[in-house]
Amino acid sequence: MKGSVRFLLVGVFILGMFWGVAVAGNPNVAIYAYNSEMITLDPSTEFSNSVVVLANLYECLVKYTPSGLKPWLAVSWEALNGGKEWVFHLRRGVKFHSGNEMTAKDVKWSVERTIKMGGGAAFIWDPVKKVEVVDRYTVKFVLKYAANLPLIASAGYGAYIMDSKTLSEIGDNKAIAKYLNKGHEAGSGPYTLVKYNPKTEIIMKKFNDYWGGWKKGQIDIAVVKVVPDASLREQMVISGQAQITRDLPIDDIPKLEDNKKVTIKRSLSYQELYGMLNTQKKPLNNKLVRKALSYATPYEKILKYILHDYGVVANGPIPKGMFGYFQDMKGYSYDISKAKQLLSKAGYAKGGIKLLLTYMQGDSSEKKVAEILKAEWKKIGVDLEIKAMNWEQQWALAKSDPSKAQDVLVFYWWPTYATPYDFLFNMFHSEKTINFNLCYYRNPNFDKLIDEAVALEGTDVKKSSALYRKAEEILLDDAPAIFFYSPDAIYVVNRGVKGFKANPGYTQVVFFYQLFKR
């Protein structure tokens, strides 16, 4: 009996190898091994992982790039009335996957649907009063207040243009959502959805009538594969079972730099790690103590030991590379004697400060930051208790009574779309109900500056930038948070694939249309 089993197995192996060979000469396939499963597929409400798929199926009016806004479905745009009205001229001859032509009607329908559903990132459209169809290829947005609408229209969440003819036939908004979440789409992007299995893999095929056209060597079949285990993702990309991955253990990256089978693509991430200080509770309600902690933090050491220098030390609240980041702005640096000085000035010459720090369970870099802080702050007499919590618990504690909440909250922030206002408003603008201002900071002067700055973002960049700078300098002086670092986005790409470039405006997205395979 054992013999027959062996015989069967050998047979299986041989046949299997044949199949392996038979497939190799076929269509160009690229697999993106991604660490987490998909959530929903409705472009109006999806506000999570599934954008890695949506950004290949759908398109926005405008594309964000680090070197400025670029045409996408709109070829040009202009502001009227001091940024209170915006006109977009649409690209002609763009076809949706159904064959319908993309027109101003679709833009109006999509944006209005997103606003009406009010879920996910719909808040980005808050300035919009109404959307008007001027003619077949021109659409006008009338705003409640001046805003940088082209930037909003480039958002990776909530700004995708959908095929209104196909979708409105399905039924009401709820029926459409249900239809889409079952694995359908109605976009104009370079890929169409073939198979949607949110827990395992999402398969997309090239759309032959894509307005951008196709060149030889581009990817015919694009796959997003859900692979939660990091070491398995690493194996897959090295062996060519997958072509691209990210979120590998940072400790493995230096070793992979020497691997001949892969290339490491690093880019800025627009993400930053913060230590939000409780400005409503003793002793951190004292500015001097907050400043002392800012000086007692070893920024360079943290970057080196935790990120292996794959990132940059933050010099303020806005990550490097974004509008609102100022290279020459002076942030804090490690200076223990200055920290001690400030503490004694605040009346804590002998130390005796006890603080509670919370961070997100399972995030190894946050954990290491917390441990380094515990050791370093001990030098100035601060006894730090560190506590890992899952995010919902951490956030629930932070939103409770500030006088009983944590003293330091470590977390990452990244923008819904690339504006400094997203950072400054969410984390530092006064709030009636606590949401993300988890340092409980209140400064009407600061609020006024950033509210003015955002209104000018689209029309007077220079003035807007100056206002942002002023606001950021106030933050640095008040020190309601410690600005640790901005990590690089690190993608590991198999050498068989060329053309990949990360775009920090679309977090975690791989645009398969860029890729080439020899």
């Binding site: 396939v29 998909m38 395992t200 194996q235 629930a396």
Partner: protein, 339 residues
Amino acid sequence: MRFWEYVAYRLILAVVVVFGVVTIVFVTSRIVPSDPAALWVGSHPTVEAIKKARIELHLNEPLWKQYAYYIGALVKGDLGVSIRTHNSVASDLRTAFSATFELIVVAEAIAILIGVPLGVVSAVRKDSWVDNLSRILAVSGVSLPAFWFGIILQLIFFRYLGILPLSDRVGTIVLLQHPLKVLTGFYLLDSLLTGNFAVFWDALKHIILPAFTLSVYPIGLITRQVRSMMVEVLQENYVRTVRAYGLPERQIYYKYALKNAITPALISVGLSFAYTLVGAFLVELVFNWPGLGRYAANAILSMDYPAISGVTIVVATTYVFVNLVVDLIQVHLDPRIVL
């Protein structure tokens, strides 16, 4: 008649057990401080979005009312929607369960095919080199961490020999070129039934490593249990009698002795079966098997209570059911047991 009465009685008892488990899970998962609304709305919600979610999820209502909603839906077979992924828990569970179930069936089959003969041989040749070798294998099988063994197998069969796939249930491209019609959710069975041999071979190749990894523990268990029972049974008078009759050795061992020796091994197979349903988490992770263990772990880590309750119901039901089946098989094998 008595047989069916017994089965009915056990099934009613099962419903009570599952109901109790559901209640306990419901209460504990709501008492733990957390905010399901925050999980529901995604990463950077507005205050209004959270308020809306609280109403949508009935979180502002008293616990007993939430419980009533949950049980009301459950009775209709509706397990609700996962807070984390917004997918229907029932359909999530169906796919995850079939993936894991297929894996475990193959693993347990391997375990029985290897473990039982190994146990018999060890008992028959007690204290010989065969016995010693099988003892070493069994003890290391039980004590090796399965995920580590899985990685070693991947290293050998994928990286160095290149004859077996690294991970997943079936190759993406194979499935794309030969679409599989899903009937039962078990890829091996479905592909055979629909005559899709390309997918069948590919799925078979994919299941070998994870199934073998999972089977190492039960192999050890079965080998040791069959051996110790066999050693006892072989001393019995009736064995000496059949031997005196001059029956072939093979027939004595496998037909007459094994029948009396296999019961405890059978029970442990049954129980390890139910345990593996969620206990195979690490093996599933290493081989990227989209199974129940991974689903359960994700649900627990994020306090996704509809998913946690769903998994609990499935596991509890399987436990009860497997226990019943094992009991019935025992009755069949051993006439001394009366229902």
